[in-house]
Symmetry: C2
Subunit: 337 residues, 2 copies
């Protein structure tokens, strides 16, 4: 893939890629293959927002102040505790003459690369945000590099809905790919009622799998039952491996969509020998997964959920259009936010 990866934006430490950098240069002047976006809204990663809300005990002003401080200090919205970011929507402001990205000024777009590597400057002090939701109205500028991923927002979907889908669009595309490597598999989704979870269930079923879900509450079970995306639904704490294995039995493919730490062992224990675990939660611990599988003598393939699969954005939007129940779940979650 052509295009630069943003090395000239890295201020410290030198020589690393933007995602690994402590601090980026977020100045709005663009290089020849860069694109500047006029920011309208940030969508914070769930694990990141949860950590901030928990630290500040739900005090919106304090949460807002810390987000501003992170962006000011790092030149990007890269939560130093969780290591995660989120994404944004905005309008294309200027396109460098050598940019390979398929956008033009005036396009309303969502960035499909993480905020952890996106140079970002906030100019309105986040005055329109109460700090109480992952969806952050914001004014400012963001920079896209030559090698990047950006999606023009579909005309037939509200921007908030498209953004919520794009945020997790790697999950259904990867689930589809893995399901097609098995013969009539059973797919278990931990956190099946959430955004990435419901899209994963829909993708698994469309690819021919039998579907099971673990959810955390009766309310989530009821909404997922109504959606009809899972053949079986169990209520269990995904952090409790014994409870997960008892409630869900085993599966050929287990998809972890619960954004809290400690779900690795339940997922491994619930996966049949020769099966695959796909970790989409940013709260996943690499050593817990690696050592957990070894400790359980579990012959399972464990995938780091890559947020990029070619065509992933169109794939996810297509699922949303095709499966009204998924769209209803997304709209309900957005309304509840």
């Amino acid at each position: 893939m052509a295009g630069s990866v943003g090395l000239t934006r890295v201020l410290e430490p030198a020589g690393v890629l933007p995602q690994a950098a402590w601090r980026l240069d977020a100045s709005p002047e663009i290089g020849p293959d860069e694109v500047r976006i006029r920011v309208q809204r940030l969508n914070l990663d769930a694990a990141s927002y949860r950590q901030l809300a928990s630290k500040h005990e739900g005090d919106g002003a304090a949460i807002r102040a810390e987000v501003l401080d992170i962006v000011e200090t790092r030149g990007k919205m890269h939560n130093p505790v969780t290591g995660s970011g989120g994404m944004l929507i905005g309008v294309v402001d200027e396109v460098g003459p050598e940019s390979p990205l398929p956008v033009k000024p005036g396009d309303r777009v969502a960035t499909l690369v993480s905020l952890t590597l996106t140079p970002l400057r906030i100019t309105d002090g986040l005055a329109s945000w109460d700090g109480l939701s992952e969806q952050v109205p914001a004014e400012g500028t963001a920079i896209l590099f030559g090698r990047s991923i950006v999606g023009v927002l579909p005309d037939d979907l509200p921007a908030e809905l498209a953004l919520a889908v794009y945020d997790v669009c790697g999950a259904p595309a990867l689930v589809d790919r893995v399901v097609r490597q098995y013969q009539d598999p059973t797919v278990l989704v931990l956190g099946g009622a959430g955004k990435s979870g419901s899209l994963s269930l829909a993708a698994a079923r469309r690819a021919g799998a039998r579907t099971k879900a673990v959810v955390v509450s009766a309310a989530e079970r009821d909404s997922l039952l109504a959606a009809g995306l899972a053949d079986e639904i169990a209520i269990a704490d995904a952090r409790d491996p014994v409870a997960v294995a008892q409630a869900a039995g085993t599966a050929d493919i287990t998809v972890v969509c619960v954004d809290v730490p400690g779900c690795e062992h339940g997922a491994i224990l619930a996966t049949a020998p020769g099966g695959t675990v796909i970790f989409f939660s940013m709260a996943t611990s690499f050593p817990a997964a690696a050592l957990g599988a070894e400790g359980l003598a579990a012959d399972v393939t464990m995938l780091v959920g890559n947020g990029y699969v070619p065509g992933h954005a169109d794939f996810a939007v297509g699922l949303l259009r095709e499966v009204p129940a998924v769209r209803a779940l997304f709209e309900a979650r957005i309304a509840a936010d």
Copy 2:
């Protein structure tokens, strides 16, 4: 697989598996399907030992005191900073009547599950260890659960050598499996001169791959050249993604065997679209890998290096016997320790 996973040994927090537990009950009395080992030697995980040595600036007495403190506090040698452990060798002392493990009292064995989940009691204050090596002579007791992995030590190999091989035996077995999913692939090993690295190179070549290695120094290059395991060898800092990609070009399969943080992006950048990255380093950051691939728009499969593949111990010992160069590299590393 039959057998219990050690839930009765978990003291806190309740309901998690032993690896996730803060503290285990390491008392030497065994349950009906447990096995007690009389410990002879611990082999600390490289990332764990490096962290301890760095923290205490190479002060052996201080390193020893901290290892004792960890084992005393947690009931297992589970480094709370790195999240990693290591393994041990010893002699089988008592086998519960319901244990499914293929061992009998008097067998000299290596435990092939991590120390992070192995109840451990040290009784000699590690008096025979100077704190200056990952190999720790020790007296005490360790417990194996029903569902566990244990290898009887081969008669034809020194115990230290077998232990060093067993410690990384998941790597060559998984590399072999992945190489066979590709047609004439090129395999790049970051850290190719190390233990898991050299076994991975040997496994890749035997499975028909073309092999490349990145090493950190001229000395490592020379020893790997002499071993003849890699078709190409480059010197680069594996934490510098641009240097890695320039030095090594691209590969279909990239294997990360460098036990330092920050190697995710170089591995991703060096892997061709459709390729696979296998992370064996316990220093791997899950978010850095997931967000890094997304940020680079890299369509690569990323595997958490599972320490367990059926038959992995015999597979690795077989490679060592078959490829004298690998054995020589291992012996040189052990001598240097």
